[in-house]
């Protein structure tokens, strides 16, 4: 068991345990937009009888403010910790020997005239697992990944970040919202994201008055499923991704509104707001995705007055090869069918991808979108007037 010694609970005490849970929703990649991606708690005011407060604010460590890893406890303070480091180091060295041996075996197999593809694949899978296992137990590696200083060219860091995204709540929240808002059966039959897609829109400065004022410079992370104002979404969002594959793959970005009213059929249809194919993404490419408005221009969300809330969904679908897709004109955006589009261009939802969604409702900023960008009259929806049952009898004398 742990030796109970009087140790100063400095460096990485209780704060880190709560901090790792708090940072689950924040990215560890660089979001260079001034958004407050790290939640900071206020330090507890010292109680009257205790001299030192429990430190609850997370230390400000990230790629912008890097810090070197230091041992949390000095040598000799906790013998179990020193023993643990020895065990981990021995195991890592044994695994690294296995890795070099396996690499040699793979190279030799590839040099043979007819390499056995199945055996090669098995060996390569095992090599990837061994590479991760040989480094994953080191406290310095885990500390770096937990503090936003992961090196995405290393398999172990990629693995740690992916595990964090999957297990510590971010993906669960996204999928909960996707399924509860019924985006999954309505837009796509199912989706299993393989990359972390983050969407940032400008922050609302004040929503008092007729039109809400929105910041021009400060962009904030959007939690999946929350309500945004149409004033916030006039400009295209800043998209950030964390991708877990080292090789470069092409993706298609789609932004759709499945709740666009269809008056002729008295139902809803899908409206295409944004389309950008052939986006190259890999784990070493920067997390902020540039040049997203070069294909089908972004049309801001314009939920019609009188309709219920609209769900705006962003999909990032993986492509098998470079695609040439025609640009969709501004007036041809309605009636877009996601399923046929995917089938036509070979976009397979089972291979992974990214998804995000938010909701919007009519506000005073929507008429501006109709006037300036769509240049059409703003529709107003409501219920049909009820037939007057007693219209014949109004004004006539009742008791004669």
């Amino acid at each position: 068991m742990l030796a109970l010694r009087r140790v100063q609970p400095w460096a990485v005490g209780f704060a880190q345990r709560s901090a790792t849970k708090q940072v689950a929703l924040a990215s560890t990649a660089v979001d260079t937009d001034g958004s407050h991606s790290q939640s900071s708690g206020e330090p507890v005011a010292p109680q009257k009888h205790q001299s030192r407060a429990i430190r609850t604010r997370r230390p400000r460590i990230s790629l912008q403010h890097p810090r070197e890893w230091n041992r949390p406890l000095a040598f000799g303070v906790l013998p179990a910790f020193d023993e643990a480091l020895k065990v981990i180091k021995e195991d890592s060295m044994a695994l690294k020997d296995e890795v070099t041996a396996l690499e040699g075996a793979i190279a030799r197999e590839k040099e043979t005239p007819q390499p056995d593809q199945h055996a090669l694949r098995v060996m390569e899978d095992r090599l990837r697992i061994l590479e991760v296992q040989s480094e994953i137990n080191f406290p310095q590696v885990r500390w770096k990944c937990a503090n936003g200083m992961a090196d995405m060219s290393k398999a172990v860091d990629r693995h740690l970040l992916e595990q964090r995204w999957r297990k510590e709540g971010a993906l669960d929240l996204l999928m909960e919202r996707i399924h509860q808002m019924k985006v999954v059966p309505d837009v796509l039959p199912d989706i299993h994201p393989s990359l972390d897609l983050r969407v940032n829109f400008p922050k609302v400065k004040s929503d008092a008055g007729l039109q809400a004022t929105v910041s021009k410079t400060v962009y904030e992370r959007v939690e999946p499923g929350v309500f945004l104002l149409p004033e916030q979404t006039v400009e295209p969002p800043k998209i950030y991704t964390t991708v877990f594959h080292p090789e470069e793959r092409l993706y298609t970005l789609l932004m759709i509104d499945p709740d666009f009213p269809d008056e002729t059929n008295k139902t809803f249809q899908t409206y295409l707001h944004w389309l950008q194919p052939n986006i190259p993404l890999s784990s070493v490419s920067p997390s902020s995705v540039p040049n997203l408005n070069t294909h089908t221009a972004y049309i801001p969300p314009h939920p019609q007055r009188g309709t219920n809330y609209h769900r705006y969904t962003i999909l990032l679908l993986p492509q098998h090869s470079r695609l040439s897709i025609h640009m969709v004109a501004k007036d041809k955006r309605t009636g877009f069918d996601v399923r046929t589009f995917m089938e036509k261009h070979g976009l397979d939802k089972n291979v992974g991808g990214g998804v995000h969604m938010w909701r919007e409702v009519w506000s005073e900023g929507v008429p501006a979108v109709y006037k300036e960008i769509l240049k059409t009259a703003e529709p107003k929806f409501g219920r049909m007037p009820k037939a007057d049952r007693y219209g014949d009898f109004r004004g006539k004398k009742r008791y004669v």
Binding site: Q16, I54, A84
Partner: protein, 188 residues
């Protein structure tokens, strides 16, 4: 207040918070002098000093500080945990590998026996009925008393020995049974 911690469940509801204090008694005043006055006082002025953990543990303000002392570093704790699980995994793999090796050796041996001598192979594959009694045993049992018969029936080969002593912290009160002899089951 002179309430015993052990009798917490027997205490009235208002006093169940561990060490609930009442400001209605002055310092040094022993409250057990007049239990009637005590009860009245307790009901008029219920304990309302809430700085200890609640009885069912829904609020525990002392946990954070205690944990900070016990676990000086979360990073160190997780490292130790991972190293221990790693060590256990190595042991487990070694044991499993050894067991697998022994099983493979046994299987290889049986395969070779089958090729060499099929009668011995069949004998080796026979399942032993642990409750089967040989002729010698049946003869011996005819001249045994009831307890002895029961002893013979219950001592099955391969089963846990009934006479095994459970290790204890202290030696037995009545000393060592030096005259004890093991019961000999008559075998074939």
């Amino acid at each position: 207040m002179s309430v015993s911690v052990l009798k917490l469940n027997g205490l009235p509801f208002q006093l169940r918070g561990l060490g609930a204090r009442l400001y209605s008694t002055r310092k040094g005043e022993v409250s057990s002098s007049d239990p009637q006055k005590d009860i009245i006082r307790r009901h008029l002025y219920p304990p309302n000093i809430r700085n200890k953990a609640s009885p069912t543990g829904t609020w525990r303000p002392d946990v954070a500080r205690a944990l900070q002392r016990a676990i000086p570093s979360v990073q160190a704790h997780e490292t130790i945990e991972r190293a221990w699980l790693l060590h256990q995994r190595h042991l487990r793999k070694k044991r499993d590998a050894e067991l697998q090796r022994k099983f493979n050796c046994m299987r290889q041996a049986m395969q070779e026996l089958e090729e060499i001598d099929s009668r011995l192979f069949r004998e080796a594959n026979k399942q032993e009925d642990p409750r089967a009694r040989s002729l010698a045993e049946v003869e011996a049992m005819k001249s045994m008393s009831e307890p002895e018969k029961r002893a013979v029936e219950s001592r099955v080969r391969g089963l846990f020995p009934r006479e095994l002593r459970i290790p204890t912290d202290t030696p037995p009160k009545n000393g060592w049974p030096n005259e004890w002899r093991a019961f000999q089951r008559p075998l074939a």
